[in-house]
């Protein structure tokens, strides 16, 4: 197939050419395998969330898809360009804001944008036009003419995103774009990603440790753990896989006794434990709350709180990786049952 076909999203027969394809993508560093056979396809125009804890292989996958790192095995195409054999083709089609905010403190924001435009072959008028178009996103005002060393973390992130967009890429890679941002800056960046996708049809490949971010933005989510893509689907479908409802009990006592008591209940489908928090997946939450409370009381386990809620991506993450993402984010190693499901 002519690779150029892949940049044309709408094909006959209701097919959409994938903007990103990875086939058995692997990367080793010496004895360590960072990415261990990732398969994925992202249709053009989609926001794809790539979830994983630190060291799971997210950034290595992104670096391979951005043609900054050659795969040890497997293959990948981005916007129809083979990442191994046509890296410049990939670079011409994509924009990327990698994990480290790539800003030169000595240059002003304006100089960053102008240099970036020149390196992407834009003419002077095109550069001026694109800077004007991106000014709302940059939102730096007069600071645009100050050296970037004086910028806050949020300002640098916004400038970094604008640099990734100066040439109007068809595929945008964002590697943990909101890490370290305050909530206001984070929501503003989410709005911008949505707008880019909605108004321009930009395909967005977003890696994140924030489950809420993936839930808010991504049409499809893949979870990577120990270099492998362990599950992939829409956020709603992933949550449905976990179960209809969750009853979460925070206990002050022997969790093993509590788990045994809950597993004996017919309303409970499975039970997971993370530290003192026990999560029971149930078919119908409202009818299961009372039996759960009685079972814990009957087992002599003091209950600090009992909550009924819908499954979240964190529950999905726990179910497929055996650990809670939130605890990993906070650097807290949680004791888990390693998928202690019934």
């Amino acid at each position: 197939m002519d690779p150029r076909v892949a940049v044309s999203p709408q094909l006959s027969g209701g097919l959409v050419a994938p903007a990103i394809i990875a086939r058995d993508l692997r990367r080793r560093f010496g004895d360590k395998t960072a990415v261990d056979g990732v398969d994925l396809q992202v249709p053009a125009g989609q926001i794809y969330g790539f979830l994983g804890a630190n060291g799971a292989g997210k950034s290595t996958t992104v670096r391979m898809l951005c043609a900054l790192l050659t795969p040890s095995a497997g293959s990948a195409w981005v916007a129809g360009h083979d990442v191994a054999t046509d890296p410049i083709g990939v670079h011409l089609a994509i924009g990327a804001a990698l994990q480290a905010t790539a800003i030169d403190d000595k240059q002003t924001g304006l100089e960053h944008l102008e240099l970036q435009g020149r390196l992407y072959g834009l003419r002077r008028r095109e550069i001026s036009r694109r800077i004007a178009e991106l000014s709302e996103l940059i939102d730096l005002g007069d600071a645009l003419r100050r050296p970037a060393g004086s910028y806050s973390g949020g300002m640098k992130r916004r400038l970094d995103l604008a640099l990734a967009l100066i040439h109007n890429p068809s595929v945008l890679f964002l590697d943990e774009p909101t890490t370290g941002l305050d909530p206001v800056s984070r929501f503003a960046l989410w709005d911008e990603v949505r707008r880019l996708n909605r108004e321009r049809g930009t395909t967005v490949f977003l890696t994140t440790q924030y489950l809420e971010e993936a839930d808010e933005l991504a049409e499809r989510v893949g979870i990577i753990a120990r270099g492998r893509l362990v599950v992939e689907d829409t956020p709603d479908a992933l949550k449905r896989r976990v179960g209809a409802d969750m009853v979460v009990a925070r206990v002050d006592g022997d969790t093993e006794v509590a788990v045994r008591a809950l597993r004996a209940l017919p309303e409970v489908e499975s039970v997971d434990v993370a530290a003192s928090e026990i999560t029971a997946r149930v078919g119908d939450g409202p009818t299961a709350v009372t039996p759960v409370a009685l079972a814990l009381s009957g087992a002599g386990v003091p209950v600090e709180s009992l909550t009924l809620r819908r499954p979240t991506l964190d529950d999905v993450f726990l179910a497929v990786t055996g650990r809670r993402m939130a605890g990993v984010e906070a650097g807290e190693e949680l004791a888990t049952t390693g998928g202690a499901s019934r």
Partner: protein, 277 residues
């Protein structure tokens, strides 16, 4: 190219047409000038880095001439100021480079930002070297002015003075290859900063203070294989002897040899740094 897999059933039937990227390759010359321009802007914002190459040559010239001129006069060397001016220009131009900025770029991720663009990879190195040359050319002006002030005259006239600057710039360009090689290979600010120590054996194990004929033993032997000895020879000949072919040719060969080794190392280090392995 590996065959592209078949398309997949759509999950986004209302997908908009993908935006057309405006990106295209800018061309080698434009890439070099863009990178050079950025380096010069950086240098303008770090004027403190230019104080040593302005101050140190004047300092050494004053010390050497003040303390040794009469002694060399008694030994029959009557143009000691002309003998020392090449030392000043070599001290002014040797090791003046933006190579440490490469390390900063690698450490803060900006180098990856450059590699994500379609910029010609060789232009990343050559652009910085072009900036180095522009800075070094400016640094020769105070040295020439100092020479004129103390009465050093070029027997080759203005063309000889321009050739004098040209030899100094060529030496500077050849030498910075070593510094870029270290910066790109190690990406370590401490190691890169310590490469200035190379300057000492080059400068002081050569004919910086006395002519080689006045040396004896191991010093004369070492100076004989030090390329800087021949660079001094070419520079001095332009002031004192006229358009003498032999010293100019030896100087050219010495600079070419250093340049060949240093730039090969720099190119290999660049290739390693931009390789996607």
């Amino acid at each position: 190219m590996t065959a592209l897999p078949e398309t997949l059933p759509t999950t986004v039937p209302q997908a908009l047409p993908a935006p057309r990227s405006l990106a295209r390759r800018a061309g080698f010359a434009r890439d070099v000038l863009s990178i050079a321009g950025r380096s010069l802007r950086q240098a303008r914002r770090e004027p403190e880095t230019l104080f040593p190459p302005i101050f140190v040559p004047v300092f050494f010239f004053a010390i050497f001439v003040g303390s040794l001129e009469s002694i060399f006069g008694q030994a029959g060397i009557d143009q000691f100021r002309a003998f020392q001016l090449p030392v000043s220009i070599v001290i002014a131009v040797t090791g003046v480079t933006r190579a440490p900025a490469v390390v900063t770029d690698i450490m803060n991720g900006y180098f990856d930002r450059l590699l994500l663009s379609p910029v010609n990879r060789l232009a990343l190195l050559l652009g910085m070297m072009v900036a180095d040359l522009a800075i070094v050319a400016a640094l020769t002006v105070p040295v020439l002015a100092m020479g004129a002030l103390v009465g050093v005259e070029f027997v080759t006239g203005v063309p000889g003075m321009l050739a004098f600057v040209g030899v100094a710039l060529a030496w500077s360009l050849a030498y910075v290859g070593i510094l870029y090689a270290v910066a790109l290979r190690t990406a370590n600010p401490t190691v890169t900063a310590q490469t200035f120590l190379l300057f000492f054996p080059f400068v002081f194990l050569s004919t910086t203070i006395v002519p080689r004929e006045q040396m004896s033993g191991w010093m004369a032997s070492v100076a004989g294989v030090n390329p800087l000895t021949y660079v001094y020879g070419a520079l001095r000949s332009l002031i004192v002897d006229g358009w003498a072919q032999a010293p100019l040719l030896k100087g050219f060969v010495a600079i070419a040899a250093v340049g060949l080794v240093a730039h090969t190392l720099a190119y290999l280090a660049l290739r390693g740094r931009v390789s996607r392995g």
